[in-house]
Structures are given as C-alpha cells and as structure tokens.
Assembly symmetry: D3
Homo-oligomer: 133 residues x 6
C-alpha cells in the first residue's frame, strides 16, 4: 500500500456543551494541525498517489469555511458536539467529496482509502480513517 500525506491548519472557536467535557464546556478554541493521508494499492503512470500540489490546494479549500470561525454559530453544525473526532470525520467527508468532484486530479480515482488527523496540542490528537468509493 502506498500513501501520501499533506498538512495545513485551522484556528477555530467552539464550546463542547456536555458534562463530560468539564471546562471545555465553555467557549474556548483550538489550533488544529490537519494532516490528510491518501492510500492506494498501486501507482498510476506518473508514480504518484496524488498530486501533492492539488491535494494541498483541495485541503486548503475544504478547510476555508472552518478557519477563523466560531463553530457554535455555523448553522451546518447546529446541535453537534464539534469534538476533534467529529471534525476529523467532517473534513474527511469534504475531502472525499473533493476527490469525487475532481479537485485531486485525474489519478485520484485510484485512491482507495483516506485518513484525516487533527493534532490539537503536543499531548493529544484524533483521526478518522476509512475506505473511499
């Protein structure tokens, strides 16, 4: 299995209104370092899993609506606990859509699996990984 991983980041505000989150129930924020990994079984003629330039661009576009935002006021996220895990999946779904929409270039249909990792501090991170069709 081949893989390529690219990195960007977002800076968001949110609150996590459930008792399990303790002080994080209050409005606070986070920098999330976002890594997206693309997996494929074999390489196409240009010997790439994905065009790194396009992948970085697609990631930047996918992150734009979240960056410098207060997630508590995003209607699309209403009623959701926007944990690191939830956001990993949200960004995963947007990148999977970006692939289907052709943002990742012609070779991207051979990508069989993806992972989105959000590093929130020097002691904690989360990710979501799944096959893509």
């Amino acid at each position: 299995m081949y893989a390529v991983e690219v990195r960007d980041h977002i800076m968001i505000a949110h609150s996590l209104p459930s008792p399990v989150f303790g002080p994080a129930q209050k409005l606070h924020g986070a920098t999330f370092i976002v890594d997206v990994t693309f997996f494929r079984a074999a390489l196409p003629p240009d010997n790439i899993v994905v065009d790194i330039g396009r992948a970085l661009e697609a990631l930047h576009k996918a992150l734009a609506p979240l960056n410098y935002a207060n997630l508590d006021e995003d209607p699309a996220l209403a009623g959701q606990l926007t944990t690191t895990e939830f956001l990993s999946r949200l960004i995963f779904d947007r990148m999977a859509q970006a692939r289907r929409d052709g943002w990742l270039g012609p070779y991207a249909e051979g990508i069989s699996r993806m992972r989105v990792t959000l590093t929130e501090s020097h002691v904690a991170k989360g990710w979501y990984e799944a096959d893509v069709a």
Copy 2:
C-alpha cells in the same frame, strides 16, 4: 475507524543482559515518550473515542510504578528483558486493564483496539497494537 491519541513520558534505568544489546547490556537509562492510541468503529453520543482528560489521567497512573524507577530491581519484571517492545506491551496491558476497570469512563467499552508507542530517541521507537475485548 476513529482514533484518539494522548501523550505522557517516563524516565527509567535498566540493563539489557543479552549479547544482542552490545553496550546496552550495561546499566543505562531512557526517557520514553509514551503515546496511547484508542480506536473505535463509531462514536457514542458525546462524539468522543475516549474522554481525553480521563485517558491522560489513566495513563499517568499506569506509568507511575515505572517512572523514576530502576526496572532491574522491580520484582514484577525479574528475568525479563525490558526492551522498548516489551515495555510497550506491558503498558498496553495496564491500559487495557484500566479500560476494563472503568478508569476511562462509561464510553470506553466501545474501544475496540489500542496501541502503545514508546519513542526512545529522535531515531528510534517501538509499539504494540492489538484488539481489546
């Protein structure tokens, strides 16, 4: 698959009395940066793989008997070669026990797999990963 990973560290002394270890047969020591990864297939209502605060606390407790210790004098480790791989498994077993004992909170029963990674320097690390029941 969702995952969350948390970090702590220990500082131990030990010797590795087998010829394969060369100079590490002598009493020496190591800082191990310890990362514990928790995997689960789906998220519970609070959208978390595990309560990060509890995970950090459980890890700290699991590491306490090893921290600032000379492993050569730990009766529980007598006759064992305390390699990075062996210690990864040892800490894995303690964290699996912590999960069964409820230290990781009510949602933790949905955790299906765990990994414990020990980084021993800027050029070497080891880990153990397995399903948990």
Copy 3:
C-alpha cells in the same frame, strides 16, 4: 549562561478587532503551546537553574485563568488586542510574579532572565524575553 525550558499549553477563543488581522477579526481560537525559559549565570548548590517540577506547576497555575477561556470576555483584558505577542508578555509577567512570590522555590532568585514562547501552529510562533529583577 545556563537555561531550562518547560512546556504546557492552553486552548483559548478570542477575536482580533483591527483591520490588520483580516479574517482573524472574527471570533476564532487557538491552541498555544507555551514554553517558559529560565536563564541564570551560574548554578546554585543543587546544580539546577530552576526546580523543573515547581516550574511546571507554576506555569500550569499561571495559565489556568486563560485556559478554556474566551479572552474577549475577560475583564482584565478589556480593550486589548490579545495577539500571540501580547499573550507572551502577559504570561511572562505572571511567571515573573510567580518567581517573586516564591512559587519557583528558594533557588529562583538567581534567575536573571526569562522567555515565554507561544507556538500557535506548525508555521508561526511568537515570544517575549527580558531580564527579571
């Protein structure tokens, strides 16, 4: 010159209401990895710049009022642009006070200089450094 540096982190929400900040004028947030450096010319009898355990504890206490907070609602910060640079100085002042108040232990009076570094992402950080009296 000897130095010792310890690390902790905070997760905050804030807005930066001045045109220079572009999209960061909106309410957003950040994880700041916080490193505090202590400098001294010579070592006291115990061969330490500062007691690392006490330094980590003092830093954690100094950061507590900022952690998981919306800085826009902190009366003590009213009317301030809470940039990375500003917050570096704010935490520096609290750590300098902590030293004067004895939180850093008996040897800490020999500390002659301090630095507080805030890393906000994988591509940007800021710090404040000055002598302490």
Copy 4:
C-alpha cells in the same frame, strides 16, 4: 502486532519530467527523512522486533548509493519518475533484500511486514507498506 521504527536521511537531486509536477519538472532536490518500520506478530527470546543497531546500519547501507546523488544520472533509475512514493518502494525493496541477506540478524526472519516513510518537508510525506516473505 509489535513494531520498531528507525530513522536516517538522504539528500538527493532529481527532476520529475512530467507535466503533472509543474515547477518540479526542473532539476531540484530534496532531503528525505527516511523511517523504516518493522512489524512482527510475536517477540523472539530477546524481546526485540529487530536489533535496532543492525537496523540502523542496514538502512544506512541501503541508502548509501542514493545519498548525495543526482538520481537523474543513476542508470538503475533511467526512465523512472523518482517521486517520493517511488523512492519509498525502492528503499523498501532494498530493506526487504537486506533482511533476506541476513543484515538484520538472526531474529529478522520473524518480521512479517515493513513500511518505509519518506518525509520531504514539514507539510508532505509518503510511504510504502507491505508484507515481506
């Protein structure tokens, strides 16, 4: 599953003569931080996945023909697009051969899987992972 990972690096020149690579079609270069991961299901008597000293040495030998080289002039690579992905596989194959040739020591026959990761910058990396027989 147990794993051990070791690190080295190479500094190479190459060009990527296909339109998909944009400015990287020109002769340029890269530092690749190279991590090799060894996986095995169970530990042999000495409690190691692989002898770390031998693994570092074998990796250094495997990388030697690539280090400080212009890959465009390596006859063995003629007609190949030497992408990060391609080089990950190339180094993987050399390390798999090194294992079969006994460079990794007597225990290495129990290694069942390997991964070679090439980090090319703070925002991009690639890898190849497969079973070894």
Copy 5:
C-alpha cells in the same frame, strides 16, 4: 524583546565543490525548512511584531527564485559555495530588503533584528542573525 517567527520551505539542487564537503561535492539536493524570526523592542498599537500574513507572503516571494532550482546554474550565485550558512544569509538579505520595500507592512520599520534559520535534516541546521537598519 518581542519576536515572531514564520515558516516555509524550498527544495533545491546544488553541489559544493570544495574538498571539505566530501561526497557533497557531487550534485545533490536538499529540502530547507526556512524559519524567519523578526525581533523588536516594543509593540506598535496593533500589538504585533509583524503582520504574520504579510510575513508569510513576503517569505514565499523571497524564496520563489530559489525553489525547485539548481543553484549551480543561477548566474547570481556563480562562484559561490551555496552552503546552508550562505543561503541563510542570502535569504536574510532578501527579507531585509523586503522589509525596506514595505512588503511587511507599515509597522515593520520597528523591527530591529532578524534571523533566518535553515533546517536541512533531523540532525543539522544553520542560521544567520543580525540587526536591520
């Protein structure tokens, strides 16, 4: 003293034709992670050392002529040994010029000192630091 530091990278080919460089006399290459640090004694009204967005943009522009290039064929570098140290200074001079040319915004005239750091691998880096007028 306040400081802000921003990061970008370049991927270059070059040779170092002097016996002191051993195998690096041959045409090879490097990824240089480039950090630029801006220092100033006091903060202007917006509480920033420099506009981070402008700093990242100015750095990207300053690096563009070097990125994806074979430095051996750059007429401006003819006869120069393009070591990490030399390139740190070269990029420093371009960033100092960028500041004088106004690319860093109106506040940038208060910047009194700069540093440019080039990290070439996980075991080596170099930098140049000086006052700017």
Copy 6:
C-alpha cells in the same frame, strides 16, 4: 552572527541525591537529545561555520564515555549532581576541548561561541551557552 547546529543522543542512568529532586532521587534514567550549536561572526573561505561531518563525529566521540553508562559509577563525576544543566556544561567543556584539539578542522578557530542543549522529554530541556577562546 552565523550558527550551525548538529544533533546526537545518549541514554544514561543516574540518581539525583538531593531532596529537591523528589522521586528523581532514586536511580532512574534518561535519553538526552544533544544539540551542539557553533556561532561565528563571519564565514571563512568555504562558507561554513564548522564542517558538519566533523562536528557530528566530534560530538559522537565526546558523548561516547557517557552513553549507555550509569553516571553514579563514573569516578570523574563522583559527588556531582548530574542534572541536565550540569551535563550540558560537561559536554560543552568537552566540545570546547575538541575544538582546541583540532577535531573540528582548520576553520574551527573562528568559532567564538557555543551552546549545548539537552532535551530530556517533550516538556523539558536545558542548555549551557558561552564564548569560547
């Protein structure tokens, strides 16, 4: 001012027998990632602060007597509290001697200042920096 920094590591056992060290009074251990920085005002003809290959070799030699050792049994360290700060100075003195002894090559006499940094974990490090004559 120009600088170059190189990295290696040691794995040691020791105890810190003074009440200020709490649990670290017991025999334990550490991995120290060791960075040595060389500073000089101007570059010699080959455009280098120091020959990186020689610097790495000299550092490796300077660290050899400490690596895989129990510092409590080193007669040269008898009666010393071998803190991170103390060891930074010890390695500094050995590297300063290595420079005077010519291990760093002919250009090294222009090195005017050095720093030795020991990173002991992901949350703590120490260093010693001074002019060299």
